[in-house]
Symmetry: C2
Subunit: 431 residues, 2 copies
């Protein structure tokens, strides 16, 4: 982890140091994923089973978990972990329930009512990666808002063998349609449907580069499915001053670094000595991690930047637009008005990133890779669609008629104008 | 416009009749647009001027309107049209102001605070098509929410020569950075920036197939820009019973048909005689339109479907997921609970589509092409990004610590666990 002073960098160096590495793609991955999608569309379950046996060593002869399998899986989960998952579920539920939008009803003119309502999306598919570390927290983060939004159909896919804890977490959220399929083939199955896996309208969840590519491809096809947000490597930016415990900042940087070798980790501090203390702590703590090798590879590309002031640190953070932003300063709340473009902000030394990753109640699905400049952190809104309703009475139409006719004239759209005129003629004739 | 009975169709015919035509693309358009984008990125203004002269016969030597040009343009706008635009502006402002979200602040456990806030997106670019009919209403629909969201930077591009009414409408909304560029080159300029046109974070607005393709391409690149929503041909679906005036329903179908030859127009009625009456009215009224040829081409592919009941009509509408849904029945509000997946719903015979297209206050930027199943009608939310803030006190961290540690254990993420443990050790040691 190298340390640099912002003031020593020229304009181009500043741009470069905050630029995320481009994800390598020679087009072969896109081609492979396109083939998988095409095969799933053409041959459905048959292809899905083939891929699952080939890529994920599926052993089962069926891909939808039976009620018995679900029950057995839940029975096997350790009771202490069950309690932890229930606690997290309660907190996440409470925070997402509070996000329920109230309908908007406005009378813009006498006789004219404009309304904004929401509906849950009809069907959603949740993808939960498997592999060495089953992301049980991801189940809660994706399924709780679907439950609160009351999406009529919620399904979940995860590569075989689906971990017991994932099954338990799904049932906690009322999700009982669980499919033991993963990878690009799972995304294709949910986007287009197979004999067994129903087609859904929107797909949520993280995944490896094949999953990400598949989500990109199915969302670019209007016959496919929408997706939650574009994906990139996970990242954290920590703003800390000398009041912060270097061991805390180091532990937060490492929480991110252990996610994957392409994770991004940035420290902004106002003091070079402090920056070096954190780096020393990082180098010490990393030795104790089970995923030490992964974390070390992420740290190789990571940077500590020394800033002239906390205001400058905020400005740098706003340019970078981090997924997670941890503020460990003397008065962390005082910086909030200066902070923009972050997925989630963690306030103060007692709020490590892992609190939000698991259990505080906020969603851990956040925009990465600079997308925090335009994308939102995942929330209830992503499971709802907003639509408008409007009603004009005869009085209302009368009040709007001249405005509509003049604007339609200006746009040269006769039929738009006539739709009003034809009605006004009847109203005027009836007088 | 042909008429069919839903009950006479077999399953495949039902799917086919509600399937939108695929937009033809042999890849040559994508290639051409990719070249334009690449040239704008490499050569900036120089390329932008070349394309504007070639495609849009730009005559000016500069592409940003000067303050004098803006003033002169505004002075030339007819005062009656100005009043109309102001009225529409007021209504649209009122409805979009009412959409301002309140912050969410929840204490999920003692000492744990979770918050949901919004920020305006830093910079947005609005695209307004030119051509035969300058879409002055589109300026209001795109710029009013940007103004209410308080986006710090708002720019507008429209092909040369920009109509006076467009300039006037822009200034009404506080937009004074107006560029006389159009097409894919304008989208590329806003996505990547040139010497004259600033790079923006998100691009809004409709356009021809080159603009649509350019928006698709720049939004797929993380260095590009986000976009408002995917685009397809405009469409309307009318549900009407015998209580509705066939001339009204016909005028609404024609409002849509005149948009373009690929517009989609669908009538659902519960009575074949009524359906035929509407078709006869359509054939009569179309003769009087200035854009008769365009409307006739759209009508060739349009359908009237006779349903067994209004409930069945609602179910069909939900499958089709229309951009505009007009309900002209005896008790239109009674159908609302059955209606899903529409961009905007127009209630009753005195609420023609053109009222919402221009002046009621709702936004006319709506999801087309079936995207209403997952996308929302454009609103204030599209100019804001939601982000979360969380804070744990020592008490809060203590309350969450065991849950986080157990879940991190289950996921095999040691550093996530240690970030909590290292803090709890200090808290416990301090006791």
């Amino acid at each position: 982890m190298k340390i640099v002073s912002w003031k020593d960098l020229n304009e181009q160096e500043r741009v470069d140091i905050l630029t995320r590495p481009a994800t390598a793609d020679d087009g072969s991955k896109a081609k492979l994923v396109a083939d998988i999608i095409s095969n799933i569309r053409n041959r459905g379950d048959e292809a899905l089973l083939e891929y699952s046996r080939k890529f994920d060593r599926l052993e089962s002869d069926h891909i939808k978990l039976t009620a018995d399998e679900i029950k057995s899986a839940c029975d096997r989960v350790d009771s202490e972990l069950k309690t932890a998952l229930k606690n997290a579920y309660d907190n996440i539920s409470m925070f997402h329930r509070a996000q329920k939008p109230a309908p908007v009803v406005v009378s813009t003119r006498p006789g004219v009512t404009c309304e904004l309502h929401t509906h849950p999306i009809d069907s959603v598919g949740l993808y939960v990666p498997g592999g060495s570390a089953p992301l049980v927290s991801t189940v809660l983060m994706l399924a709780v808002p679907a439950q609160i939004a009351e999406c009529p159909k919620v399904i979940l896919c995860s590569p075989p063998p689906v971990s017991d804890a994932i099954v338990y977490a799904a049932t906690l959220c009322g999700v009982n349609d669980i499919y033991t399929v993963g990878g690009a083939q799972a995304i294709a199955a949910m986007a287009y449907g197979t004999e067994t896996v129903p087609k859904v309208n929107k797909i949520f969840g993280p995944g490896n580069s094949f999953v990400t590519e598949a989500k990109k491809q199915v969302s670019a096809d209007f016959r496919g499915a929408a997706i939650d947000m574009p994906a990139g490597p996970s990242e954290v930016l920590v703003i800390a001053d000398e009041s912060a415990n270097p061991a805390f900042a180091a532990s937060d940087l490492l929480s991110q670094a252990e996610h994957g070798p392409d994770s991004q980790v940035v420290l902004l501090s106002t003091n070079p000595n402090y920056g070096n203390e954190v780096i020393a702590e990082v180098e010490k703590q990393v030795q104790q991690l089970s995923r030490k090798d992964i974390a070390n590879r992420a740290l190789e590309k990571s940077i500590a930047i020394v800033c002239e002031s906390l205001e400058e640190a905020c400005a740098i953070s706003n340019i970078y637009a981090p997924e997670h932003l941890i503020v460990e300063t003397r008065e962390p709340r005082a910086l909030l008005p200066y902070l923009r473009n972050a997925g989630s902000i963690f306030i103060g030394g007692w709020t490590p990133e892992s609190v939000g990753d698991y259990a505080s109640g906020t969603n851990h699905t956040l925009p990465t890779y600079g997308y925090a400049k335009t994308c939102s952190s995942l929330g209830l809104a992503d499971y709802l669609r907003r639509y408008t309703v409007q009603e004009a009475t005869t009085e209302g139409l009368t009040n709007l008629s001249r405005t509509v006719e003049l604007m339609a004239d200006a746009e040269g759209l006769t039929a738009h104008k006539r739709a009003v005129t034809i009605r006004m003629d009847i109203l005027n004739g009836a007088k």
